[in-house]
Amino acid sequence: MTVRIQIEDFDLGYELMSMRLAGHGSKESIGALVSFVGQVRELNDGDAINTLTLEHYPEMTEKALTAIENEAKMRWDIIDSLIIHRVGTLKPQDQIVLVAVTSAHRGEAFNACEFIMDYLKTSAPFWKKEATSQGERWVEAKLADDAAKERWESHAG
């Protein structure tokens, strides 16, 4: 159960290998690792993206993400989870976020990983501003993200 907010990039292969091999010798044996990486699109809403800048609310961010991880851990039988979210100014194809979840069997890790992303998208205090060929603009929140979150509210888990 780790949360990291950072300006610098992360090494995806290293992070996933560390998750996968953690817990060696422990009672619960890792059989599944599900991960999500979000990256800056080269095009968004039809315009070329020059940069994407992420602002956040530092005192609140880690608390919000930890609460989401705790909720996932309560709902599913997972072994560990990791959230890394970058802030600052990024370029197209840069990694923005990694969510990784390990479990004994795959169904738990798939559910928990998607749950964490859906809640992160709607509850964690990050805001994106794009610099495009058409100028700067704040990214609008999507109704689809609210709908994705609401799916989990009618699930028992």
């Binding site: 205090p125 704040w138 929140a141």
Partner: protein, 85 residues
């Protein structure tokens, strides 16, 4: 009572600062009342806080709805719907 207010993203840009300390009149005790209070500051503030834009609030780093109570010493944050991930 004294509170601290933080603004983020497009709201920060619109009000043109990110934080303020405020001595709140004693009859203002909810997020709704605070939004209304801020909307009295002029056209710019009225546009933001008249209820036509979705503005989320957090009190002491926890998301709250507009009925949430504000207490002395609270850190209240206003921001647009989040767009991380």
């Amino acid at each position: 009572m004294n509170i601290k207010i933080l603004y983020f993203a497009r709201i920060k840009e619109a009000v043109n600062y990110s934080t303020e300390e405020l001595d709140l009149p004693s009859d203002i005790s909810t997020v709704t009342a605070l939004k209304h209070h801020l909307s009295q500051r002029g056209a710019n503030w009225a546009n933001l806080f008249n209820g036509k834009q979705v503005i989320r609030a957090a009190i002491n780093h926890t998301l709250v709805d507009d009925l949430a109570k504000i207490q002395a010493g609270d850190e209240v944050a206003f921001f647009p719907p989040v767009t991380g991930g």
